[in-house]
Symmetry: C6
Subunit: 285 residues, 6 copies
């Protein structure tokens, strides 16, 4: 009877007994539009398994790019959105307790290292110092991960590839990559796509015609000039797609712009008004 009880609990407590990469494999090709040679460069870094750093503003497509590369390379993708409370344990795993004592549950990084996934640590500079340091032996010749709590050293799966990202325009003085970490990576710079590409993306993902997409991208360009003048970040491609979808769904363009662009962008009433004025200039005529 104890056995059956144990089994009833097991699926919940021992998810790793199944394919541990379930939920990390992409089941359909994500939409992606290359801007430059980023696919090429990522593939080169991947062939040599050089750890990869992606730099760029919020919502410019870093995550989408990594998803595309995982799909293209046929690898599972383990993603972690790092924050100032992300500790080494959050990446490595921890001991849990069951009837027979403690047992170990791999964290996302350990899973990726063990089973050969791309591990994407988003906003990595936000993580705590101890999280930063655990990746060091993964990023040099050793390609090992030390689970110090278990006394286990894992040799990375040949397919394992580490990718981190951050937004260099937003990070504070306190939160920077230390040189000893930084010099373990090769890096790609990301930015918002060129106008024609962005129009095509908004049209394709928002389901609207290019003329409407053009107007939205133009609003975004004007917003990006406000950056630093009351706006932390210009409007991202993502929110343009939001606005496009709301219009396609039947909302009036000015309502859609207010809902998706000008109201969420800032808490400063003047900024919000300025953004809505951009929208009126494009849509009320």
């Amino acid at each position: 009877m104890l056995d059956s009880l144990q089994q009833k609990i097991a699926p919940d407590n021992h998810p790793a007994q199944h394919d541990p990469m379930v939920g990390h494999r992409l089941t359909e090709e994500p939409y992606f539009r290359a801007i430059g040679d980023e696919v090429n460069l990522f593939e080169a870094a991947h062939r040599l398994r050089l750890p990869m750093l992606l730099k760029g503003p919020t919502g410019c497509g870093k995550t989408r790019f990594v998803e595309h590369m995982a799909w293209r390379l046929g690898l599972p993708l383990v993603q972690v959105a790092c924050n100032e409370d992300t500790s080494a344990s959050d990446l490595l795993g921890r001991f849990l307790l069951n009837r027979d004592g403690t047992y170990w549950v791999d964290g996302p990084l350990t899973s990726a290292v063990r089973h050969g996934a791309i591990c994407y640590l988003d906003e990595f500079v936000e993580a705590r110092q101890d999280a930063t340091v655990v990746i060091h032996p993964l990023t040099d010749e050793r390609r090992t991960l030390l689970l110090d709590r278990k006394g286990e050293v894992i040799q990375a799966h040949p397919d394992f590839h580490l990718v981190i990202s951050y937004n260099p325009g937003y990070q504070s003085e306190m939160k920077r990559l230390k040189p000893s970490t930084r010099q373990r990576f090769v890096a790609l710079d990301f930015d918002f796509p060129p106008t024609s590409d962005e129009i095509e993306i908004v049209a394709a993902e928002g389901g609207v015609d290019p003329a409407l997409a053009t107007r939205l991208v133009d609003i975004a360009h004007r917003s990006r000039q406000l950056k630093g003048n009351g706006l932390d970040e210009g409007l991202s491609t993502r929110v343009l797609i939001y606005a496009a979808r709301l219009m396609r769904d039947g909302l009036l363009p000015l309502s859609a712009c207010r809902l998706a662009l000008s109201t969420p962008a800032s808490d400063d009433a003047e900024i919000c008004t300025a953004l809505q004025n951009f929208a009126e200039a494009h849509f009320s005529a």
Copy 2:
């Protein structure tokens, strides 16, 4: 015998075995009075499942609006009042211990994601960074929630819709939505209702006649002009309803105003006197 003991404990320890949304379904229609096209816009965002941000001052009706929309859409509503101690675990859930080891209890966000509720995170900017970040994969194409402690990735129920709110007039410099979070939402601005609407609300909810409600709303309007001059927030619609109910219950108007309006509003004696003077101007004649 152990089995029966276990059963005696189970109801307490495994409340989720029943309908987990019990207590989250509204059993009667909440009073609500629309001011503009907010119902329309919410429904558009809901159809596309775009994450929704509500901005506005204390007691202006944001919570009531979300309750109304949950009732209208026939969805359960899971509410969390966030604060500076709200962590990712408070939203996601945690492991508890019983005789057979640890077992998992879903937090409010996980419950809503799993069972298809509207999840309303009130005063979301107050929450800790790690709580802020867990909603990211819920707010883009993925609509997934990662329970990193369990190694489980949950695909959101089709009905799940995320709504957050905060009061932009009150939050500190330290507590702001980061652009990488902000640009995942569409937003609605809330404010106190227009005079005629507010009078109708106070009369209806306070159970008093419109003439008396008019006098209370007028006091509130005068108080809102004191905002920033010693008063953090003007008198809310909610406290006007308190005063109205006390009067209907038989209290003298000036006593009711002192009890519900002028004494609680501030700790500055001059402000309290000014507010009570407004009341006397309306009620002692």
Copy 3:
């Protein structure tokens, strides 16, 4: 055998199996002397179950008033002296561990909500933010308490009434009620009683004749003028009663004043001397 062992432990670990309000019912009427219409106003707020805030200086009788109201209304009274370490768990309850795993023990607020008591949270502004926020759904239409750790939503007992207090003259800038909390309460201002009332209270509770009580109250009045000039608070009615009892017990008046009034009131030697001079002016002649 295990069963009997369990029973031996149970009384200690499961005190809630008995009447959980034992120890919270007042067994004799507390001494109380009304100053104005505070009883009337409290009863009005109680009929509508409007959350009640009491403001006033240390030792002016707020606690005594709540005890009186609980006695008058025939309700149990659950008191919590809040401080800067008071967390939500301290109010809500927590899981403890026994042989069969964890079990839940209601905190004082949960007990009061469940069993229909007046819950008096003294010095509520001192409590931590997460404690402040848990009372929100208790103070609006919902009258619910969310035990997030258990996933339980409690509908408040019809008799439940929430009362909080603080001392507005003492709280720091950092510790203030946020408007979103403040505007959920009706409020009463407390202060030291008028002279004739205070004399009667000191005589009655201290067991001395009115002439002696008059001299003590006069010392207190003079001390209260020193407030802000080296003295954080003037002498309270409580310490006058201490001095009166010491005199009735046979101590010389000047010794009693030194012991109960001038030495404890301050660590500033000049202030202590000034207070003892007041005493000498009244008692050494």
Copy 4:
């Protein structure tokens, strides 16, 4: 077999099964020399069970006085040296875990309240806020102690008497008794004893003749004038007794003074030299 195992562990884990006041009863009369009417005043406060506050510098005899009063009144004495890490749990007690789950162990304050001891909380202002607040219901009419973790309310034993102390000359701005705590106590001021008394004490406790004691007390008097000029506190009676004992044990007076007085008193070389010069002025001639 399990039973006997349990018993082997029990004495260690359940010390409270014996007389819980063992180790807290004074087995021999401590040396004490009254300076003024402090014994009288303490007895008056004790008869009325008024909480007692002792103020005075380091090493002036506060602890010795409380020991004397406990001996005189025939009561056990529970002492706690408070510090900035002293929490409510340190005073109240905590749950420990054994084979059958958690069980409660009374902390020192709870022990004293339950079994009728004098509880002496030394340097009470150093303790954390939550520790400060737990004594409130013990210090008014209620004389109750709330063990919130257990849900138990203890009515204080009739003999229980609370005594706290601090050094007003040393405490920082941050560490002060709040008025709401302070006005619950009667207070006695302590200082170093008058010259003739201090000489007698040093002679009696140090085992030296009055002439030698006189010289030591004179050095102390001169050191106390340096207070604030590089010396946090003047030499205490305790260290004079140390020096006296070392001399009686055969050490040269100047060596004893260097060892017990001038070297430990400060880390400032000039102050140490000044103190040793005082010693040379008295002993090298």
Copy 5:
């Protein structure tokens, strides 16, 4: 049956039952090129077991040197990358819980002390104070390690040798070795290798011809002159090898330089441009 279950778990929970130094022995000779007499000096310190401190910039080869020495001396090498969260427990070990209660798992330092490894604590100044202090008795005549949680004193294995490192050019004012720690070590200064050595290393490890390696090293030299002028650290030998490998893999030299040298080195656009200009000066002609 429980027994077999236990055994199934044991390998995971008791890794120390096997050769505890597995995973810490170098299985192939690491590439290493001596620059001066560092091998000689390390061997002298090792013969006397004098604790060794290595100082030098990021990526200049300290880790590689220690690996070489471990290989040369035939000793296992236990490495710990210290960070600001590294505590004594992280080095010493901790108690874990299984079915029979707690059991101890040696931390990396304890393992090395017990089994006779070189223990290399990288970036040791980053570790917490308590971690710093545990090595003291290991670094004097005693050569003991105190496991205070276990009450065990370990005499170091005769082969045990302690090596620590840090980067003196990067550490903050707050993070410095205290003199009481510093004066327990002998020390070696490391820096980037001389030009001809660095060219040879880049050619050998990057798999490129010396002419190409020369150009890369020249870029690095120019970058190192920017140190302090916007660049925390000049380009390390490691990233030169990255660039070399990417070129050998077929990437255009300027793409490889952008990917491996100029983009990762800094978040300052001007610095990145300056570095890429160096690359263009060497590769575009």
Copy 6:
């Protein structure tokens, strides 16, 4: 079977069942050279069991002196290197968990108090406040130690003697002995030994002839004049012995000086050069 299992675990979990002072008894006489009357004064303090404070710079021989006194007095010596994370629990002990629940493990101070050792708390000012306060009742007439978590009061073994130390030249303003702690100790000042003594020590412990030792001591003297001018502490006797041993082992004198004296002493290149210049002045001629 349970019994045997228990026994297998016991040696590890109950080390105190053997002689708890094993590992704390000195098995051979440590090298020690008295400079003044410190042995005499320590013995006087020990006879009266007066708590002893040793003040002096890093590496001047305080630890060696205490070891010598323990050897001389035939007492076990329990040493604790305190740091800013040292808490009361680290000194007193803690509860651990095994199959039968929690059991207590004495900390180093408790062991010494119970079994009659000299307890040497090195760098005591670094410890946390709660650790500072637990020694108070050990340092006056009571000579008791309160294990508040166990509710146990231990009367110190007659042989127990408390010794603490710190470096007055290095401690910060924040880390000072409070007067209420300081005035419980007698104190000895330590400094580097006089020239002739230091030469003899270096020659004896380093195994070199007095002429070579003289040159090393001369370098140290010159370094100590740099203290405060870029050097936190002058070269200690310990590092002179390191250098001497390296020379005896065959290293060139200048290499030995660089390895043991000039490189480890500072991270300031000019200071290191200055120190190495001192070495060259003595050894290169």
